[in-house]
Symmetry: C2
Subunit: 274 residues, 2 copies
């Protein structure tokens, strides 16, 4: 039974996130439909993790098996023809049967994009950028953003940055339990809110746009964690919270200690490493 690893990019604007949901258009569901359309087989591709409604991916990874034996190059081409232009398979390779996009993920990287205010005039977000950035109405200080971002590097309990919705928490716990596979590199049991962040920093594009990019690599991320980190960093970058707030917020282990949740549409799943 051939098994494949697909690397895919998607524009999350018109999807209710990655995970299949009855009666709603999702990336996982659309991919399953394309596979069924091509092969007549009903298989649900397993992603490296979920992305929420409106979140984009530059390189999501998904695995799936088919009993049909199709040459990889043909399957790749046919899938891209069957899929809408908002989802592209960038790379498709055969994988060993035991390879699993989620269980085997070692590190993940996300990128969050912000278009900050750069002049005394109100920032006008170009329509072509609007679905892919958070147009932030205040000035942001890059060095303050980076001072804050550096404070999450290392192994911490990220409860203060995790979604508190009980449903989400339950789903998260289930998700984490599923993640507790031998390949996980985390030193602590995964059904906790402890994660390791390997790198966390902001850069600013040259040129008039001044687009800010936050890139964070970690062993794994809690639900809404990147968006809650960004929502807190901008409180610091705009001067409304002191730059040394992060350790106190982490220690609180309480969502209300941190800043608001940044909008979904600025977030990109950037890379999954195995």
């Amino acid at each position: 039974m051939p098994h494949w690893k697909a690397t895919l990019a998607y524009d999350g604007t018109s999807y209710y996130g990655w995970q299949v949901q009855p009666g709603r258009s999702t990336v996982q569901g659309t991919l399953a439909q394309a596979l069924a359309h091509l092969t007549g087989e009903h298989t649900l591709p397993q992603g490296s993790g979920r992305t929420d409604t409106g979140v984009h991916a530059l390189a999501q990874v998904a695995t799936f098996s088919l009993s049909t034996n199709i040459p990889t190059a043909n399957l790749h081409r046919a899938l891209n023809r069957a899929l809408p232009a908002s989802i592209r398979i960038l790379d498709l390779t055969e994988a060993p049967p035991e390879f699993h996009a989620r269980h085997n993920a070692l590190r993940k990287t996300y990128e969050y994009r912000i278009l900050p205010r750069t002049t005394e005039l109100e920032t006008i977000c170009p329509p072509f950028l609007a679905p892919y950035v958070w147009a932030y109405p205040r000035f942001l200080d890059l060095s303050l953003l980076n001072e804050a971002a550096a404070q999450v590097i290392g192994t911490h309990d990220f409860t203060s940055f995790a979604a508190v919705n009980p449903d989400q928490a339950t789903r998260q716990a289930q998700h984490e339990a599923e993640l507790a596979a031998p390949h996980e590199t985390q030193a602590t049991p995964t059904a906790t809110n402890t994660r390791t962040i390997y790198s966390s920093n902001w850069t600013q594009d040259p040129g008039p746009s001044g687009l800010l990019r936050y890139r964070v690599t970690g062993s794994g991320f809690l639900h809404h964690m990147v968006r809650n980190l960004v929502g807190t960093f901008v409180e610091i970058g705009s001067g409304r919270l002191p730059a040394n707030s992060i350790p106190t917020i982490l220690q609180a282990q309480n969502r209300s200690a941190a800043g608001p949740t940044a909008p979904a549409h600025g977030l990109f799943l950037y890379e999954v490493e195995y």
Copy 2:
């Protein structure tokens, strides 16, 4: 009665073009709604010209009058708040009452974007680019494209590159009659298919994408003219028509002599000069 000149950008993906149509979302209609919402006044902004369904604008120009006297900066800010993120007023200035976005336009520039095949492998169009380029499945020779593009510079009858749909032709004639204003710089009567092209050339972005941009500046453009020119240029750039075909096609004054119509979503209204 204050009169304004607005420069606006829009992502045409989700609009049935510029021109107001009953029961359909259009850019002109959405702008009129925003003005009505803010002021209670019903005014229909006049654009520099129509754009078709799916066509984008980097700098469309529209004029409108209101009896309400609102400071320009306030109106600008309020309009951008009332409009969807897919339409942005980039600039708003008071204009003399006789200034008309269409009648006073002297030159217009369009840009058409193509993502050509660049390797032996099938080109994969990134989902974030798909609504803004024509993903063209063949290799294109930049020098052949430019050889062809240069042949339309000057004053020509562009009947071979004009939409042939009778409704469109009628609308075009009406539109052209409306255009026959004293400010027009064209030497010939405007209710003909004669236009002057001032510049016409292709460039290729550096880097792996190899994005091709066709930029054309003219006194005015017939309906579908830029898309029909591009559809013909790519026949030449891909080697399926000889590079010296353009003069023969122009002389034919017959739409069937030229190539197919390039898709709407690669086209941007780039600049309107007064």
